[in-house]
Symmetry: C2
Subunit: 275 residues, 2 copies
Protein backbone atom coordinates (compact mmCIF):
# COMPACT_ATOMS: atom_id res chain seq x y z
CA UNK A 1 0.00 0.00 0.00
CA UNK A 2 1.25 3.48 -0.66
CA UNK A 3 0.66 7.13 -1.43
CA UNK A 4 1.34 7.86 -5.09
CA UNK A 5 1.50 11.24 -6.80
CA UNK A 6 2.02 11.48 -10.58
CA UNK A 7 3.59 8.02 -10.71
CA UNK A 8 5.96 8.60 -7.76
CA UNK A 9 5.57 6.54 -4.60
CA UNK A 10 5.78 9.02 -1.68
CA UNK A 11 5.25 6.48 1.10
CA UNK A 12 4.55 2.80 1.27
CA UNK A 13 3.57 0.16 3.75
CA UNK A 14 3.60 -3.62 3.52
CA UNK A 15 1.31 -5.25 6.04
CA UNK A 16 -0.62 -8.52 6.37
CA UNK A 17 -4.05 -8.12 4.78
CA UNK A 18 -6.55 -8.56 7.60
CA UNK A 19 -9.90 -6.82 7.70
CA UNK A 20 -11.28 -3.37 6.94
CA UNK A 21 -10.39 -1.70 10.29
CA UNK A 22 -6.69 -2.54 9.78
CA UNK A 23 -6.82 -1.27 6.20
CA UNK A 24 -8.49 2.00 7.23
CA UNK A 25 -5.92 2.51 9.99
CA UNK A 26 -3.02 1.89 7.60
CA UNK A 27 -4.42 4.36 5.07
CA UNK A 28 -4.77 6.90 7.91
CA UNK A 29 -1.11 6.42 8.88
CA UNK A 30 0.06 6.80 5.29
CA UNK A 31 -1.94 10.02 4.93
CA UNK A 32 -0.36 11.40 8.09
CA UNK A 33 3.10 10.39 6.89
CA UNK A 34 2.76 12.35 3.63
CA UNK A 35 0.75 15.18 5.22
CA UNK A 36 -2.39 14.79 3.08
CA UNK A 37 -5.77 15.64 4.55
CA UNK A 38 -7.43 13.14 2.25
CA UNK A 39 -6.52 11.29 -0.96
CA UNK A 40 -7.72 12.54 -4.36
CA UNK A 41 -8.84 8.99 -5.04
CA UNK A 42 -8.14 5.43 -3.89
CA UNK A 43 -7.39 2.48 -6.18
CA UNK A 44 -7.49 -1.03 -4.73
CA UNK A 45 -6.02 -4.11 -6.43
CA UNK A 46 -7.32 -7.31 -4.86
CA UNK A 47 -6.37 -10.94 -5.53
CA UNK A 48 -9.95 -12.17 -5.41
CA UNK A 49 -13.05 -12.74 -7.50
CA UNK A 50 -15.01 -9.50 -7.55
CA UNK A 51 -17.77 -7.48 -9.07
CA UNK A 52 -15.75 -4.53 -10.29
CA UNK A 53 -18.82 -2.52 -11.21
CA UNK A 54 -20.25 -2.73 -7.69
CA UNK A 55 -16.87 -2.58 -5.92
CA UNK A 56 -17.59 -5.85 -4.19
CA UNK A 57 -15.22 -8.68 -3.26
CA UNK A 58 -17.14 -11.89 -3.88
CA UNK A 59 -15.40 -14.84 -2.27
CA UNK A 60 -11.76 -14.61 -1.44
CA UNK A 61 -10.43 -18.10 -0.68
CA UNK A 62 -7.15 -16.68 0.63
CA UNK A 63 -8.68 -13.60 2.28
CA UNK A 64 -11.62 -14.77 4.43
CA UNK A 65 -12.04 -11.36 6.12
CA UNK A 66 -12.91 -9.79 2.76
CA UNK A 67 -15.72 -12.13 1.79
CA UNK A 68 -18.65 -10.04 0.54
CA UNK A 69 -17.07 -6.71 1.58
CA UNK A 70 -17.94 -3.71 -0.56
CA UNK A 71 -14.49 -2.13 -0.48
CA UNK A 72 -15.54 0.82 -2.62
CA UNK A 73 -18.46 1.91 -0.41
CA UNK A 74 -16.55 1.30 2.83
CA UNK A 75 -13.47 3.31 1.86
CA UNK A 76 -15.51 6.07 0.21
CA UNK A 77 -17.45 6.48 3.46
CA UNK A 78 -14.24 6.52 5.50
CA UNK A 79 -12.13 8.87 3.34
CA UNK A 80 -14.64 10.92 1.35
CA UNK A 81 -13.03 10.35 -2.03
CA UNK A 82 -13.76 8.22 -5.12
CA UNK A 83 -12.64 4.60 -4.71
CA UNK A 84 -12.02 2.01 -7.44
CA UNK A 85 -11.54 -1.75 -7.16
CA UNK A 86 -9.81 -4.01 -9.67
CA UNK A 87 -8.14 -7.40 -9.88
CA UNK A 88 -4.53 -7.17 -8.67
CA UNK A 89 -2.91 -8.69 -11.77
CA UNK A 90 -5.07 -6.53 -14.07
CA UNK A 91 -3.90 -3.53 -12.04
CA UNK A 92 -0.30 -4.68 -12.53
CA UNK A 93 -0.90 -4.77 -16.30
CA UNK A 94 -2.28 -1.23 -16.06
CA UNK A 95 0.83 -0.18 -14.11
CA UNK A 96 3.03 -1.60 -16.86
CA UNK A 97 0.94 0.18 -19.52
CA UNK A 98 1.08 3.58 -17.82
CA UNK A 99 4.48 3.57 -16.10
CA UNK A 100 6.47 0.54 -17.36
CA UNK A 101 7.02 -0.90 -20.84
CA UNK A 102 4.07 1.12 -22.22
CA UNK A 103 3.41 -1.38 -25.04
CA UNK A 104 -0.04 -1.24 -26.65
CA UNK A 105 -0.60 -5.01 -26.85
CA UNK A 106 0.83 -7.22 -24.15
CA UNK A 107 0.19 -9.92 -21.59
CA UNK A 108 1.38 -9.39 -18.02
CA UNK A 109 1.93 -12.50 -15.86
CA UNK A 110 2.66 -12.67 -12.13
CA UNK A 111 4.49 -15.95 -11.50
CA UNK A 112 4.52 -16.58 -7.79
CA UNK A 113 2.76 -18.84 -5.22
CA UNK A 114 -0.23 -18.40 -7.52
CA UNK A 115 -0.26 -17.23 -11.13
CA UNK A 116 -2.19 -14.13 -12.17
CA UNK A 117 -2.42 -12.26 -15.43
CA UNK A 118 -3.57 -9.08 -17.08
CA UNK A 119 -4.12 -8.30 -20.75
CA UNK A 120 -3.61 -5.02 -22.61
CA UNK A 121 -5.06 -4.87 -26.14
CA UNK A 122 -5.06 -1.78 -28.34
CA UNK A 123 -3.74 0.29 -25.43
CA UNK A 124 -6.58 -0.68 -23.07
CA UNK A 125 -6.71 -3.19 -20.22
CA UNK A 126 -9.06 -6.11 -20.95
CA UNK A 127 -11.07 -6.21 -17.71
CA UNK A 128 -13.75 -8.70 -18.82
CA UNK A 129 -17.48 -8.54 -18.17
CA UNK A 130 -17.15 -8.00 -14.40
CA UNK A 131 -13.40 -7.58 -13.83
CA UNK A 132 -12.23 -11.21 -13.84
CA UNK A 133 -10.35 -11.32 -17.15
CA UNK A 134 -6.70 -12.33 -17.47
CA UNK A 135 -6.85 -15.47 -15.31
CA UNK A 136 -4.05 -17.30 -17.10
CA UNK A 137 -3.32 -19.22 -13.88
CA UNK A 138 -6.65 -20.99 -14.24
CA UNK A 139 -6.68 -21.87 -17.90
CA UNK A 140 -7.12 -25.66 -18.11
CA UNK A 141 -4.12 -27.00 -20.01
CA UNK A 142 -4.12 -30.62 -18.70
CA UNK A 143 -7.69 -31.96 -18.51
CA UNK A 144 -6.15 -35.20 -17.18
CA UNK A 145 -3.75 -33.36 -14.86
CA UNK A 146 -3.66 -32.55 -11.13
CA UNK A 147 -6.47 -30.83 -9.29
CA UNK A 148 -5.94 -27.11 -8.72
CA UNK A 149 -6.63 -25.33 -5.42
CA UNK A 150 -9.50 -23.58 -7.24
CA UNK A 151 -11.27 -26.94 -7.52
CA UNK A 152 -10.82 -27.46 -11.25
CA UNK A 153 -8.54 -29.95 -13.01
CA UNK A 154 -5.30 -29.18 -14.84
CA UNK A 155 -5.00 -25.40 -14.38
CA UNK A 156 -1.64 -23.83 -15.20
CA UNK A 157 -1.35 -22.75 -11.55
CA UNK A 158 -1.58 -26.38 -10.34
CA UNK A 159 1.38 -27.26 -12.57
CA UNK A 160 3.57 -24.18 -12.38
CA UNK A 161 2.54 -22.00 -9.42
CA UNK A 162 4.65 -22.10 -6.26
CA UNK A 163 1.96 -23.86 -4.22
CA UNK A 164 1.28 -26.31 -7.03
CA UNK A 165 4.96 -27.08 -7.46
CA UNK A 166 5.20 -27.72 -3.73
CA UNK A 167 2.12 -29.98 -3.92
CA UNK A 168 3.68 -31.96 -6.79
CA UNK A 169 6.88 -32.44 -4.77
CA UNK A 170 4.83 -33.61 -1.78
CA UNK A 171 3.02 -36.21 -3.91
CA UNK A 172 6.36 -37.45 -5.20
CA UNK A 173 8.46 -37.35 -2.03
CA UNK A 174 5.98 -37.11 0.84
CA UNK A 175 7.72 -33.99 2.09
CA UNK A 176 6.67 -30.32 2.11
CA UNK A 177 9.32 -28.34 0.29
CA UNK A 178 8.88 -24.66 -0.55
CA UNK A 179 9.00 -23.68 -4.23
CA UNK A 180 12.17 -21.57 -3.74
CA UNK A 181 14.02 -24.65 -2.48
CA UNK A 182 12.65 -26.82 -5.30
CA UNK A 183 14.02 -24.35 -7.85
CA UNK A 184 17.35 -24.08 -6.04
CA UNK A 185 17.79 -27.84 -5.94
CA UNK A 186 16.70 -28.14 -9.58
CA UNK A 187 19.44 -25.67 -10.48
CA UNK A 188 21.93 -27.95 -8.73
CA UNK A 189 20.71 -30.75 -11.00
CA UNK A 190 18.84 -32.88 -8.42
CA UNK A 191 16.74 -35.09 -10.69
CA UNK A 192 13.23 -35.12 -9.19
CA UNK A 193 13.31 -31.33 -8.70
CA UNK A 194 14.76 -30.66 -12.15
CA UNK A 195 11.96 -32.74 -13.69
CA UNK A 196 9.31 -30.85 -11.74
CA UNK A 197 10.73 -27.49 -12.71
CA UNK A 198 11.05 -28.48 -16.36
CA UNK A 199 7.42 -29.61 -16.35
CA UNK A 200 6.44 -26.29 -14.76
CA UNK A 201 8.36 -24.30 -17.38
CA UNK A 202 6.82 -26.33 -20.21
CA UNK A 203 3.36 -25.67 -18.78
CA UNK A 204 4.10 -21.95 -18.47
CA UNK A 205 5.46 -21.86 -22.03
CA UNK A 206 2.37 -23.66 -23.33
CA UNK A 207 0.08 -21.21 -21.52
CA UNK A 208 2.01 -18.25 -22.96
CA UNK A 209 1.77 -19.82 -26.42
CA UNK A 210 -2.00 -20.15 -26.01
CA UNK A 211 -2.25 -16.50 -24.98
CA UNK A 212 0.04 -15.46 -27.85
CA UNK A 213 -2.15 -17.19 -30.46
CA UNK A 214 -5.30 -15.70 -28.93
CA UNK A 215 -4.06 -12.15 -28.39
CA UNK A 216 -1.09 -11.57 -30.71
CA UNK A 217 0.71 -9.44 -28.12
CA UNK A 218 3.87 -7.50 -29.01
CA UNK A 219 5.37 -8.68 -25.76
CA UNK A 220 4.84 -10.77 -22.66
CA UNK A 221 5.94 -9.22 -19.37
CA UNK A 222 6.60 -11.27 -16.26
CA UNK A 223 6.73 -10.30 -12.62
CA UNK A 224 6.48 -12.13 -9.28
CA UNK A 225 8.82 -14.20 -7.13
CA UNK A 226 9.79 -16.76 -9.79
CA UNK A 227 11.41 -14.02 -11.89
CA UNK A 228 14.26 -13.97 -9.32
CA UNK A 229 15.34 -17.26 -10.99
CA UNK A 230 14.64 -16.06 -14.53
CA UNK A 231 18.16 -16.83 -15.77
CA UNK A 232 17.44 -20.50 -15.06
CA UNK A 233 13.70 -20.63 -15.85
CA UNK A 234 13.44 -18.13 -18.69
CA UNK A 235 15.18 -20.10 -21.48
CA UNK A 236 13.03 -23.17 -20.71
CA UNK A 237 9.82 -21.13 -20.79
CA UNK A 238 10.72 -19.26 -23.97
CA UNK A 239 11.74 -22.49 -25.76
CA UNK A 240 8.34 -24.02 -25.01
CA UNK A 241 6.53 -20.81 -26.03
CA UNK A 242 8.37 -20.55 -29.34
CA UNK A 243 7.82 -24.21 -30.25
CA UNK A 244 4.05 -23.97 -29.64
CA UNK A 245 3.16 -20.52 -31.04
CA UNK A 246 3.49 -18.97 -34.50
CA UNK A 247 3.31 -15.54 -32.84
CA UNK A 248 6.60 -15.00 -31.03
CA UNK A 249 6.36 -11.95 -28.82
CA UNK A 250 9.42 -10.76 -26.97
CA UNK A 251 9.45 -11.84 -23.34
CA UNK A 252 10.67 -9.37 -20.71
CA UNK A 253 10.60 -8.87 -16.97
CA UNK A 254 8.55 -6.02 -15.49
CA UNK A 255 10.25 -2.63 -15.45
CA UNK A 256 8.60 -1.79 -12.13
CA UNK A 257 9.71 -4.68 -9.91
CA UNK A 258 7.55 -5.19 -6.84
CA UNK A 259 5.94 -1.76 -7.33
CA UNK A 260 4.05 -2.78 -10.45
CA UNK A 261 0.83 -3.63 -8.57
CA UNK A 262 0.92 -0.55 -6.36
CA UNK A 263 1.53 1.81 -9.29
CA UNK A 264 -1.21 0.09 -11.28
CA UNK A 265 -3.74 0.43 -8.46
CA UNK A 266 -2.79 4.11 -8.20
CA UNK A 267 -3.51 4.49 -11.94
CA UNK A 268 -6.89 2.76 -11.63
CA UNK A 269 -8.98 5.88 -10.80
CA UNK A 270 -7.90 7.57 -14.04
CA UNK A 271 -8.27 4.40 -16.15
CA UNK A 272 -11.37 2.77 -14.74
CA UNK A 273 -13.43 1.20 -17.53
CA UNK A 274 -17.06 1.80 -18.39
CA UNK A 275 -18.50 -1.61 -17.49
CA UNK B 1 -18.68 -10.80 -51.51
CA UNK B 2 -21.38 -8.17 -51.57
CA UNK B 3 -22.51 -4.58 -51.69
CA UNK B 4 -23.64 -3.42 -48.25
CA UNK B 5 -25.40 -0.17 -47.35
CA UNK B 6 -26.18 0.67 -43.71
CA UNK B 7 -26.06 -3.01 -42.71
CA UNK B 8 -28.26 -4.24 -45.58
CA UNK B 9 -26.80 -6.57 -48.22
CA UNK B 10 -27.94 -5.18 -51.58
CA UNK B 11 -26.18 -7.77 -53.74
CA UNK B 12 -23.90 -10.69 -53.10
CA UNK B 13 -21.72 -13.11 -54.98
CA UNK B 14 -20.06 -16.34 -53.87
CA UNK B 15 -17.13 -17.31 -56.05
CA UNK B 16 -13.93 -19.34 -55.74
CA UNK B 17 -11.13 -17.11 -54.48
CA UNK B 18 -8.55 -17.01 -57.26
CA UNK B 19 -6.33 -14.02 -57.93
CA UNK B 20 -6.70 -10.25 -58.07
CA UNK B 21 -8.03 -9.98 -61.65
CA UNK B 22 -11.00 -12.23 -60.77
CA UNK B 23 -11.66 -10.26 -57.59
CA UNK B 24 -11.56 -6.92 -59.43
CA UNK B 25 -13.94 -8.26 -62.08
CA UNK B 26 -16.38 -9.55 -59.45
CA UNK B 27 -16.37 -6.20 -57.65
CA UNK B 28 -17.03 -4.50 -61.00
CA UNK B 29 -20.02 -6.77 -61.63
CA UNK B 30 -21.47 -6.14 -58.18
CA UNK B 31 -21.12 -2.38 -58.68
CA UNK B 32 -22.99 -2.63 -61.97
CA UNK B 33 -25.69 -4.77 -60.38
CA UNK B 34 -26.43 -2.18 -57.68
CA UNK B 35 -25.82 0.80 -59.97
CA UNK B 36 -22.96 2.39 -57.98
CA UNK B 37 -20.24 4.28 -59.79
CA UNK B 38 -17.76 3.38 -57.08
CA UNK B 39 -17.92 2.11 -53.48
CA UNK B 40 -17.60 4.50 -50.52
CA UNK B 41 -15.04 2.09 -49.12
CA UNK B 42 -14.03 -1.56 -49.39
CA UNK B 43 -13.51 -3.92 -46.45
CA UNK B 44 -11.77 -7.25 -47.06
CA UNK B 45 -11.81 -10.18 -44.63
CA UNK B 46 -9.12 -12.72 -45.50
CA UNK B 47 -8.39 -16.15 -43.96
CA UNK B 48 -4.65 -15.63 -43.98
CA UNK B 49 -1.73 -14.26 -41.98
CA UNK B 50 -1.43 -10.57 -42.77
CA UNK B 51 0.04 -7.24 -41.90
CA UNK B 52 -3.15 -5.33 -41.30
CA UNK B 53 -1.35 -2.00 -41.03
CA UNK B 54 0.20 -2.34 -44.50
CA UNK B 55 -2.79 -4.14 -46.04
CA UNK B 56 -0.58 -7.04 -47.02
CA UNK B 57 -1.37 -10.76 -47.14
CA UNK B 58 1.74 -12.54 -45.91
CA UNK B 59 1.60 -16.22 -46.70
CA UNK B 60 -1.70 -17.85 -47.36
CA UNK B 61 -1.29 -21.63 -47.23
CA UNK B 62 -4.79 -22.18 -48.63
CA UNK B 63 -4.69 -19.20 -51.05
CA UNK B 64 -1.43 -19.40 -53.02
CA UNK B 65 -2.49 -16.65 -55.46
CA UNK B 66 -2.59 -14.13 -52.63
CA UNK B 67 0.89 -14.68 -51.27
CA UNK B 68 2.51 -11.26 -50.72
CA UNK B 69 -0.33 -9.35 -52.40
CA UNK B 70 -1.01 -5.86 -51.06
CA UNK B 71 -4.79 -6.05 -51.32
CA UNK B 72 -5.29 -2.55 -49.97
CA UNK B 73 -3.05 -0.81 -52.53
CA UNK B 74 -4.30 -2.92 -55.44
CA UNK B 75 -8.00 -2.33 -54.79
CA UNK B 76 -7.50 1.34 -53.92
CA UNK B 77 -5.78 1.82 -57.27
CA UNK B 78 -8.55 -0.05 -59.09
CA UNK B 79 -11.60 1.54 -57.42
CA UNK B 80 -10.38 4.89 -56.09
CA UNK B 81 -11.74 4.45 -52.58
CA UNK B 82 -10.31 3.65 -49.13
CA UNK B 83 -9.69 -0.09 -48.63
CA UNK B 84 -9.24 -1.97 -45.35
CA UNK B 85 -7.97 -5.50 -44.75
CA UNK B 86 -8.65 -7.67 -41.69
CA UNK B 87 -8.63 -11.30 -40.62
CA UNK B 88 -11.90 -12.99 -41.68
CA UNK B 89 -12.84 -14.30 -38.22
CA UNK B 90 -12.00 -10.96 -36.60
CA UNK B 91 -14.28 -9.35 -39.20
CA UNK B 92 -17.00 -11.84 -38.27
CA UNK B 93 -16.64 -10.79 -34.61
CA UNK B 94 -16.98 -7.16 -35.73
CA UNK B 95 -20.12 -8.09 -37.69
CA UNK B 96 -21.59 -9.69 -34.58
CA UNK B 97 -20.66 -6.60 -32.52
CA UNK B 98 -22.22 -4.10 -34.94
CA UNK B 99 -25.16 -6.03 -36.43
CA UNK B 100 -25.64 -9.25 -34.41
CA UNK B 101 -25.68 -9.95 -30.65
CA UNK B 102 -24.03 -6.57 -29.93
CA UNK B 103 -22.48 -7.78 -26.65
CA UNK B 104 -19.55 -5.76 -25.31
CA UNK B 105 -17.37 -8.72 -24.28
CA UNK B 106 -17.52 -11.90 -26.34
CA UNK B 107 -15.59 -14.52 -28.25
CA UNK B 108 -16.69 -15.42 -31.77
CA UNK B 109 -15.68 -18.84 -33.11
CA UNK B 110 -16.04 -20.18 -36.67
CA UNK B 111 -16.19 -23.96 -36.44
CA UNK B 112 -15.74 -25.38 -39.89
CA UNK B 113 -13.00 -27.12 -41.95
CA UNK B 114 -10.66 -24.87 -40.00
CA UNK B 115 -11.35 -23.03 -36.74
CA UNK B 116 -11.08 -19.25 -36.56
CA UNK B 117 -11.88 -16.79 -33.83
CA UNK B 118 -12.37 -13.15 -33.01
CA UNK B 119 -12.43 -11.37 -29.65
CA UNK B 120 -14.44 -8.34 -28.57
CA UNK B 121 -13.42 -6.76 -25.24
CA UNK B 122 -14.92 -3.59 -23.82
CA UNK B 123 -16.87 -3.04 -27.05
CA UNK B 124 -13.76 -3.18 -29.27
CA UNK B 125 -12.36 -5.94 -31.47
CA UNK B 126 -9.00 -7.24 -30.22
CA UNK B 127 -6.99 -7.16 -33.46
CA UNK B 128 -3.56 -7.87 -31.96
CA UNK B 129 -0.26 -6.22 -32.82
CA UNK B 130 -0.59 -6.74 -36.60
CA UNK B 131 -4.09 -8.19 -37.04
CA UNK B 132 -3.52 -11.85 -36.15
CA UNK B 133 -5.32 -12.04 -32.80
CA UNK B 134 -8.15 -14.46 -32.07
CA UNK B 135 -6.50 -17.61 -33.45
CA UNK B 136 -8.28 -20.03 -31.14
CA UNK B 137 -7.89 -22.76 -33.80
CA UNK B 138 -4.15 -22.71 -33.21
CA UNK B 139 -3.93 -22.63 -29.45
CA UNK B 140 -1.85 -25.65 -28.41
CA UNK B 141 -4.04 -27.72 -26.09
CA UNK B 142 -2.33 -31.15 -26.53
CA UNK B 143 1.46 -30.75 -26.61
CA UNK B 144 1.61 -34.54 -27.08
CA UNK B 145 -1.22 -34.58 -29.61
CA UNK B 146 -1.46 -34.77 -33.41
CA UNK B 147 0.38 -32.42 -35.76
CA UNK B 148 -1.72 -29.58 -37.14
CA UNK B 149 -1.71 -28.50 -40.80
CA UNK B 150 -0.05 -25.28 -39.58
CA UNK B 151 3.02 -27.34 -38.62
CA UNK B 152 2.64 -27.12 -34.86
CA UNK B 153 1.62 -29.90 -32.45
CA UNK B 154 -1.72 -30.27 -30.69
CA UNK B 155 -3.65 -27.23 -31.99
CA UNK B 156 -7.40 -27.19 -31.37
CA UNK B 157 -7.93 -27.23 -35.13
CA UNK B 158 -6.04 -30.52 -35.50
CA UNK B 159 -8.40 -32.12 -32.97
CA UNK B 160 -11.72 -30.48 -33.73
CA UNK B 161 -11.62 -28.80 -37.16
CA UNK B 162 -13.30 -30.56 -40.10
CA UNK B 163 -10.00 -31.34 -41.82
CA UNK B 164 -8.43 -32.50 -38.56
CA UNK B 165 -11.40 -34.73 -37.78
CA UNK B 166 -11.12 -36.24 -41.23
CA UNK B 167 -7.37 -36.78 -40.71
CA UNK B 168 -8.05 -38.52 -37.38
CA UNK B 169 -10.57 -40.84 -39.07
CA UNK B 170 -8.06 -41.62 -41.82
CA UNK B 171 -5.40 -42.58 -39.26
CA UNK B 172 -7.90 -44.84 -37.53
CA UNK B 173 -9.63 -46.42 -40.53
CA UNK B 174 -7.37 -45.78 -43.50
CA UNK B 175 -10.24 -44.13 -45.33
CA UNK B 176 -10.95 -40.50 -46.25
CA UNK B 177 -14.31 -39.55 -44.79
CA UNK B 178 -15.60 -35.97 -44.85
CA UNK B 179 -16.36 -34.33 -41.49
CA UNK B 180 -20.09 -34.04 -42.27
CA UNK B 181 -20.31 -37.81 -42.69
CA UNK B 182 -18.28 -38.43 -39.52
CA UNK B 183 -20.74 -36.32 -37.53
CA UNK B 184 -23.72 -38.01 -39.18
CA UNK B 185 -22.43 -41.49 -38.38
CA UNK B 186 -21.53 -40.40 -34.84
CA UNK B 187 -25.14 -39.30 -34.38
CA UNK B 188 -26.24 -42.80 -35.41
CA UNK B 189 -24.02 -44.15 -32.64
CA UNK B 190 -21.25 -45.74 -34.74
CA UNK B 191 -18.50 -46.20 -32.17
CA UNK B 192 -15.28 -44.98 -33.81
CA UNK B 193 -17.02 -41.86 -35.13
CA UNK B 194 -18.81 -41.13 -31.89
CA UNK B 195 -15.47 -41.33 -30.04
CA UNK B 196 -13.83 -38.96 -32.52
CA UNK B 197 -16.66 -36.45 -32.28
CA UNK B 198 -16.70 -36.62 -28.48
CA UNK B 199 -12.96 -35.96 -28.43
CA UNK B 200 -13.47 -33.03 -30.79
CA UNK B 201 -16.23 -31.57 -28.59
CA UNK B 202 -14.09 -31.98 -25.46
CA UNK B 203 -11.23 -30.20 -27.18
CA UNK B 204 -13.54 -27.38 -28.30
CA UNK B 205 -14.99 -27.11 -24.78
CA UNK B 206 -11.50 -26.98 -23.28
CA UNK B 207 -10.46 -24.25 -25.73
CA UNK B 208 -13.58 -22.22 -24.90
CA UNK B 209 -12.84 -22.69 -21.18
CA UNK B 210 -9.32 -21.38 -21.72
CA UNK B 211 -10.66 -18.34 -23.56
CA UNK B 212 -13.33 -17.81 -20.89
CA UNK B 213 -10.75 -17.75 -18.07
CA UNK B 214 -8.52 -15.39 -20.08
CA UNK B 215 -11.17 -13.00 -21.34
CA UNK B 216 -14.23 -13.29 -19.07
CA UNK B 217 -16.64 -12.84 -21.97
CA UNK B 218 -20.38 -12.38 -21.38
CA UNK B 219 -21.00 -14.80 -24.19
CA UNK B 220 -19.42 -17.09 -26.75
CA UNK B 221 -20.92 -16.99 -30.24
CA UNK B 222 -20.42 -19.77 -32.76
CA UNK B 223 -20.77 -19.82 -36.52
CA UNK B 224 -19.54 -22.06 -39.35
CA UNK B 225 -20.59 -25.38 -40.84
CA UNK B 226 -20.45 -27.42 -37.62
CA UNK B 227 -23.24 -25.30 -36.12
CA UNK B 228 -25.67 -27.12 -38.46
CA UNK B 229 -25.26 -30.07 -36.02
CA UNK B 230 -25.35 -27.91 -32.89
CA UNK B 231 -28.24 -29.87 -31.33
CA UNK B 232 -25.90 -32.88 -31.21
CA UNK B 233 -22.55 -31.15 -30.63
CA UNK B 234 -23.60 -28.20 -28.43
CA UNK B 235 -24.42 -30.06 -25.19
CA UNK B 236 -21.09 -31.92 -25.34
CA UNK B 237 -19.14 -28.71 -25.91
CA UNK B 238 -20.95 -26.75 -23.20
CA UNK B 239 -20.52 -29.60 -20.67
CA UNK B 240 -16.75 -29.57 -21.22
CA UNK B 241 -16.63 -25.75 -21.07
CA UNK B 242 -18.57 -25.60 -17.81
CA UNK B 243 -16.49 -28.30 -16.12
CA UNK B 244 -13.21 -26.54 -16.98
CA UNK B 245 -14.02 -22.86 -16.46
CA UNK B 246 -15.21 -20.86 -13.44
CA UNK B 247 -16.48 -18.20 -15.83
CA UNK B 248 -19.57 -19.63 -17.54
CA UNK B 249 -20.59 -17.37 -20.40
CA UNK B 250 -23.76 -18.15 -22.32
CA UNK B 251 -23.10 -19.92 -25.59
CA UNK B 252 -25.15 -18.93 -28.63
CA UNK B 253 -25.10 -19.32 -32.40
CA UNK B 254 -24.45 -16.28 -34.59
CA UNK B 255 -27.50 -14.13 -35.33
CA UNK B 256 -26.21 -13.41 -38.82
CA UNK B 257 -25.79 -16.92 -40.26
CA UNK B 258 -23.46 -17.09 -43.25
CA UNK B 259 -23.59 -13.29 -43.64
CA UNK B 260 -21.60 -12.62 -40.47
CA UNK B 261 -18.25 -12.33 -42.27
CA UNK B 262 -19.59 -10.22 -45.13
CA UNK B 263 -21.35 -7.79 -42.80
CA UNK B 264 -18.24 -7.59 -40.61
CA UNK B 265 -15.99 -6.80 -43.57
CA UNK B 266 -18.46 -4.11 -44.60
CA UNK B 267 -18.20 -2.61 -41.10
CA UNK B 268 -14.39 -2.66 -41.20
CA UNK B 269 -13.86 0.79 -42.82
CA UNK B 270 -15.76 2.50 -39.99
CA UNK B 271 -14.14 0.40 -37.25
CA UNK B 272 -10.56 0.05 -38.41
CA UNK B 273 -8.16 0.24 -35.45
CA UNK B 274 -5.25 2.57 -34.97
CA UNK B 275 -2.38 0.08 -35.11
Amino acid sequence: MGAVLAGKILARRIFPTRGLPELRAAIGQILQEVGWERPEAIGVGAPAPMDMRRGLILHAPNLPHWNGVNVVEELRAAFGCPVFLGNDANCAALGELVFGWKAQNFLYVTWSTGIGGGIVAGGEVVWGATGQAGEIGHIPIRPDGPRCRCGKIGCLEALAGGAGLSDRAFELLGERIPAEEIIERAQKGEAPFLNLVEEACKAMGQALAIAAELLEPEMIILGGGFTASWGFLGPKVVAALNSLSRVQPKVELTKLGDDVGLLGAAALPLHFPRL
